[in-house]
Symmetry: C2
Subunit: 200 residues, 2 copies
């Protein structure tokens, strides 16, 4: 049984479980799907993971640590300024195929879009994620303004929300059947917008 | 039984069923949920609606006819030009509470985001919807350009995709727990963007 616990915690199995929920979402993933991926039976999943809800939350946390925290690196250093925001969005062009963004999008944003159907723990986790995301954009914009590099009259709160809305758009668009070109043009539009925030 | 069929087709019951799928999506809506809303038992649903899949597709069609085709009115007359696009997006400020956009978004876009998990009929329906949506934006932009009212150098295909991406963002953002202000600021950003397409 010890061996089973070890296996339950293996990175590979956890990654496969995360991918399953990422792709299919909470409501379209059954415990049977999880048993197929992990090789456990139902009783083992309930015993070692604590049930579907706790497993789902653990996979959200795993995604945030292993995916989101890596992808947001360009936003994490405020001195990156507007370039950090452009790098953040433009990296998705490369991640689209290579990291399977296509048809998957962002696990946290997909969950945010269904958040009313989730429990309080998931709702609180998603709220933290969205608050932190806003703060990242805002920090870069405040730095840019303080350095005198932001165009006069730009409202930082409004721009932050516009970028959050665009990230929702981008991450949901790539789950749809819209061709890659639409996704590229959306990123191009965001890139133009951010460039346009620069003081001349 | 005739009476039952009549009742099955009543607008009220169809609307309630549509709302159910709109709010909860295909995968989080069970046949039990539908029986609760419609008052039918399972057998009646299978007999008169043909099963969950056909019922879902019928509700998507109903949404397109009764909701989407009404909401896109400002986009349907190409002579509305850029103003038509601004009116289209700005109307969501009013619809947010009054028509329950909040926490529901757009049934068709929510389905588009999960389209890989749906059957061919749903996928084809969603593709048509997205193609038609693109065409609406494009027609207005082409008219605006032909009238000499579009800023030089604007690429119509790119702008169309950017607007589609923003509509995905807006319609998914309002299903999340992000406050109304974020939604308003996203619309404000879209409005600024469209205004900026105008020839001086």
């Amino acid at each position: 049984m010890e061996q089973l616990i070890q296996r339950s915690l293996s990175e590979e199995i956890l990654d496969k479980t995360m991918m399953l929920f990422w792709e299919k979402g909470y409501f379209n993933t059954s415990i049977d799907d999880v048993t197929t991926v992990t090789g456990f039976n139902r009783a083992a999943i309930y015993k070692y993971f604590g049930g579907k809800d706790q497993l789902f939350l653990a996979m959200l946390q795993r995604f945030r640590k292993n995916v989101t925290d890596v992808v947001t690196v360009p936003l994490q250093t405020k001195t990156n300024g507007l370039k950090g925001m452009r790098d953040f969005f433009n990296q998705f062009l490369e991640l689209y195929e290579s990291k399977g963004l296509k048809s998957r999008g962002c696990f946290l944003i997909s969950t945010a879009v269904d958040v009313h159907a989730h429990n309080k723990d998931v709702a609180a986790f998603i709220k933290d994620f969205l608050d932190d995301l806003r703060a990242l954009f805002q920090n870069l914009l405040v730095y840019t303004r303080d350095e005198g590099m932001l165009k006069q009259g730009v409202d930082i709160g409004s721009v932050t929300d516009f970028l959050v809305g665009n990230l929702f758009g981008l991450m949901t668009l790539c789950r749809s059947s819209a061709p890659r070109q639409v996704f590229e043009n959306h990123i191009g539009g965001i890139d133009n917008f951010i460039s346009g925030l620069s003081a001349k």
